[in-house]
Subunit: 209 residues, 2 copies
């Protein structure tokens, strides 16, 4: 079960995994309590915004003390829906698709990649770790069988629109798009465009002294 | 040349490329003026924070009107140091390294990948687009020749610490780390840890209605 507030603003929802990532590091370093001020230093969001974000889902902190890292982490997991694994598919089994499967399978405990899909007959039938690469024609069946909720899209730009339409047809309504292409999707389909450059660009600032 | 304020808080610097990304989309859609309120809706940061961030570097907006998208974009490019290309190297020419080279070369006009490095003799000598894969022993020479400023680290966790020490030895002080490993680096070395899961996790929120 997850916290049942379905109406959180997208901006708040975007920040939750960032808090989660910070909490994971703090817990790894055996930090038990963190103030919104410290969370602000770690995240770059203002302490006020952090308090507002978390208050949106309930009262998780103690005034003047701060947040218990383990407790807050569990709450955020529930709120996002990461308290149980989400089945996802990867569409496009090229280098990026393979890299993301390796990365998520080994590093992201919250998702379970149930299959990868590609149009290349040389790749179809191969396995990436324990994830099989299947033809696009098998997508509907796999999505239904495993109740897959998210598609990670890593096909070339030119194939992205066709691929996303196939994904939507399979019943998936959330797409994490790595293809450098603007996707046209109907109402109710949530597309998150990955931008691998943002952190790299902020890093460049520090190289130009 | 770039704006010469070297003391921006890390949190501000992190947000600049996000503003830039939003401005790129706005300009692509021929939006000429944007208010801090609209930038807030797009970015998830408060309008007040955005105004503060930008005011940190100068007065770029017009009260009651907003920001000229093209003008603000050029200012931010200068501030970050993206007004001229930055030479970078990729360390680790596996699937992720190859994918990032393809991605950055084709999608990120601000960086120029001058070489990739690997320890695998099967990969050394190969080319990824026009980027050659070289042995680690060539790193110092290449970094000096091209004045490379950033290393993108995509080696397996087990090799990440050795690799980052080699990178630092070559004279690079900014590392974009994709390896799921905590790196120990001396003072003055800036490591940005990529987290490919954050956007995927926020997407999961919308799948658990």
């Amino acid at each position: 079960m997850k916290a049942n507030n379905r109406n959180a603003p997208k901006s708040v929802v975007r920040r939750l995994p960032i808090y989660l990532h910070i909490l994971d590091n703090l817990i790894e370093n055996e930090v038990e309590i963190i103030s919104s001020r410290e969370l602000s230093d770690e995240s770059g969001f203002t302490a006020e915004q952090i308090r507002k974000d978390l208050a949106f889902f309930g009262a998780f902190g103690t005034r003047g003390t701060g947040y218990n890292t383990v407790f807050l982490r569990e709450k955020i997991l529930k709120i996002i829906g990461l308290d149980k694994q989400t089945n996802i598919i990867v569409v496009g089994a090229g280098h990026l698709g393979i890299a993301l499967i390796n990365y998520n399978v080994t590093k992201n405990p919250y998702v379970n990649v149930v299959a990868a899909f590609d149009i290349d007959s040389d790749i179809i039938g191969k396995k990436i770790l324990d994830v099989e690469v299947l033809p696009m024609s098998k997508m509907n069946e796999i999505v239904n069988t495993y109740n897959a909720k998210v598609a990670v899209l890593t096909v070339p730009s030119g194939q992205a629109q066709i691929a996303v339409e196939k994904i939507i047809e399979s019943g998936i309504s959330a797409v994490f798009n790595f293809a450098p292409a603007k996707l046209r999707v109907p109402e109710g389909i949530c597309v998150e465009n990955a931008n691998l450059s943002v952190e790299l660009q902020s890093l460049i600032y520090y190289t130009k002294a």
